[in-house]
Symmetry: C2
Subunit: 380 residues, 2 copies
Amino acid sequence: MAESGEAFTEGTSTEQIEVKTRSGSYTVYIEPGARQRLPGVVERAAPSGRCVLISDETVLGLWGDDVLGILRRGGLEVAALSFPAGEVHKTRKTWARLTDEILDLGLGRDGCVVALGGGVVGDVAGFVAATYMRGVPVVQVPTTTLAMIDASVGGKTGVDHRSGKNLVGAFHPPAAVVGDTEFLSTLSTDLRGQGFAEALKHGFILDLSHAEDLARSSEALLDGDPSVTAPVIRRSASLKARVVEADERESGFREVLNFGHTVAHAVELAEEFRLPHGHAVAIGMVAEARLGEKLGFTREGTAALVEEKVTALGLPVSYEGCSGEELTRLASHDKKNRQGQIRVVFLSEAGKVDANGGWAKVVDRTDFEAQIETCLRGGG
Amino acid sequence: MAESGEAFTEGTSTEQIEVKTRSGSYTVYIEPGARQRLPGVVERAAPSGRCVLISDETVLGLWGDDVLGILRRGGLEVAALSFPAGEVHKTRKTWARLTDEILDLGLGRDGCVVALGGGVVGDVAGFVAATYMRGVPVVQVPTTTLAMIDASVGGKTGVDHRSGKNLVGAFHPPAAVVGDTEFLSTLSTDLRGQGFAEALKHGFILDLSHAEDLARSSEALLDGDPSVTAPVIRRSASLKARVVEADERESGFREVLNFGHTVAHAVELAEEFRLPHGHAVAIGMVAEARLGEKLGFTREGTAALVEEKVTALGLPVSYEGCSGEELTRLASHDKKNRQGQIRVVFLSEAGKVDANGGWAKVVDRTDFEAQIETCLRGGG
C-alpha cells in the first residue's frame, strides 16, 4: 500500500477481534463483563489447569479477589503474585523475582500466566511468561484504557533499562486478551484519558474518523461510560490488530505505530519515566506533526488538527522540561535508531502516513535539534 | 510417524544443512575453515555491518584474534565481550551484564550478535540476542563438538537457575550456524569426547547406523581428525535439524531429543553442574535404557548395546553420587514435567522411539524411585 489509511477506513467493530500473525493467532475480547470468560480462556491456554496471576499491588487490591474468585469457581488452580505499581518497577529485578516465585510454585510448561493490570503489568508479566522455561502462554487482562487499546495487542513484552524503555524484552503474543470495560470504573478520569492518546494515534495514522469520534465523545469517554467506551476501544484495538497482522516484527509497516513515539520516548527519558506514557505520546504526536510540517513531510494544518483533538481529550500538547539539545541527545539513543540515526514517523496528512521513503523517515540530527524545541513549546 | 527412526535412515550428509522452521530458516555450515564464511554470513544478518562478538575468556584467548581479524578484514565493525568460562556463569547475572555492555556500545536493532564458543556461550549469547531490544539476530559459531552437534541447532537459548538448568530462556533460532572443525584442535580429548554423547543419542533415537559409525570411528574422533570428524558432526546436526523442523517448540516429536536427559538433568543438579553435560547424558542414556527394559518399554538387550557404544566413546556409564530417592526428587523438578509427573523418553529398541502413548512416557514416581538407583549403578 502507498498510504497507511487505505485499507483501514472500512473496518467495523465486531464483538471479538481475531488477530492472526505468523507466530500465532489469538482473540481479543473487549466488552463489559469480559472477565467472566477467563475460566474458559485460561483452560484452553493451560492444559494443567494451573495458572499464576501477576498484577501490581494496586490492581490486586481493587480486582484481585474478584478475578481470583472467577478463576477458582471455574475450577482452576491459581496463585497470585504482585509487585509495587509503577513504571519504575518495570525492571529486570522485578522480572527475576517473579520468575523465582513462579519456579518456587512449581508451575510447569503446561501452566500459564494471567497478566492483570495496565501496560506495565502486561509488559513485565508478558516477559516473565516469554522467558519462563523458554515460554509459557500469557493471557493478557488489561485493566486500563491504555492497555486495552494498545499494550495488550501485538505481543511486545519487556522491561526498561537505565538506557531507555523496553530495551530488554521479547515478542510473545498472548494466548488471548480479555479486556473488561468494567475495570475502567476504578480508574481516575486522568488515567482513563491517558489511554486515549494511543487511540488518537491509531486515528491519526490510519483513520481520521476514529480520531474525530474520540474527540466528539470525549466527555463520555473520560467519564468511563461503558456503552460509549467499549466500541471505541474495540475499534482502536482492531486498527492496531490489522497493523500487527501485516507486520508483526516491526520490520516495516508496523513502524507507523511509532508516530509520536520518537519524541515521547525522549521526553520520558528526560522525565525519568515519571510522566505518564499517554501524556508523553500526546506531546510527541503534536511535536512530530509540527516537525513534519516544518520539514515538508506533513501537509500544513495537520498539526493544528492533531493539537485540537489531543486537547479535546484533555491531554497535554507542549513540553518545556528540557532543551532541544538534550532532547536530541535522548532521541538519538532511541532503540528504533539505525546506525545512530533519528527516525520519525510523519503523517502525510491527518489519518495517513506516506510509505514513500519508508514508513519512518530519517531526520538529520542537526535539523532535528534546530527545530524540536520550538515544536515542543508550540511556538511558530 | 509411528516410530522415530522411520524417516531418518536414508538421510545423507551434504556440505550445508538447511533448517526450515516456522519461525525462520537458516543454514548450518560444518567444515574445516568454515569461519572464513563469517563476513558474508554476518553481513546478511546485520544490515548495519555492526556486530558484537560474545565469547568466554578461554575461547576468546584461543580464537578471538583470529575470528575478529576475519570479521574486520571482511569490513565489519565488531566489538568483543566475554565472561569467565563454565556453566556456573550461565546465569541471569552474566546475561544482564552482557546486555548492559551491548547497550553501552550502542548496538541497534540492525546489528547482530556472534556467539563464539561452546554450549554455554551459545545459550547465554543466544538469550542476550533473543531479549536485546526484543530480539536481534545471532550467528552461532560453535567451537566444541557438543555445541556443533547439538546446542547450536534448534534455537534454544537460556540460562540456568538455582532450581535447574535452562529454566529461564527463549526460543531464538540463529541467523546461521558456522561450525569450523578446525576449532576442535584446541580441545582436550576429553572435551572432544563429551560432545559425542549427544551424537550417540541422535543415533539411538533415530538411526542406529550413526551410533555404530561413531563407535567404529571413536579413535579418530577423539583425536580430532578433521576428515573423519566433519562428516560425522554434519550427519548428527542434520539428524537433529530434521527433528527440529518437524517440531520446533517441543510440543511433540522434538521430545525424543530428551532421551537420556531426565536422568542427566537430575544428575547435573545433584552435582551442582560440575559434571560435564556430555557425561551426564551418557550416564542418563544408559540408565534410561536400563529403566526402559525394566518397565517393559524397551526391547531386552538394548541397554547393553547402548552401554557398549557409550563405552567405546570413552564416556561414563554409571553414577553413584546420590541415592535413588534424592535423584527422584531432583528428576521430578525437571521442567519437562507436566503436573509434577516424571516423563522419560524410552527407546523401543536401539535406533527407535515408539510414538504410542506419546514420545515421552509418564513414569510413576514410586516405580522410578524403586528402580533408578540400580539402573544408575549398573547392577541387575
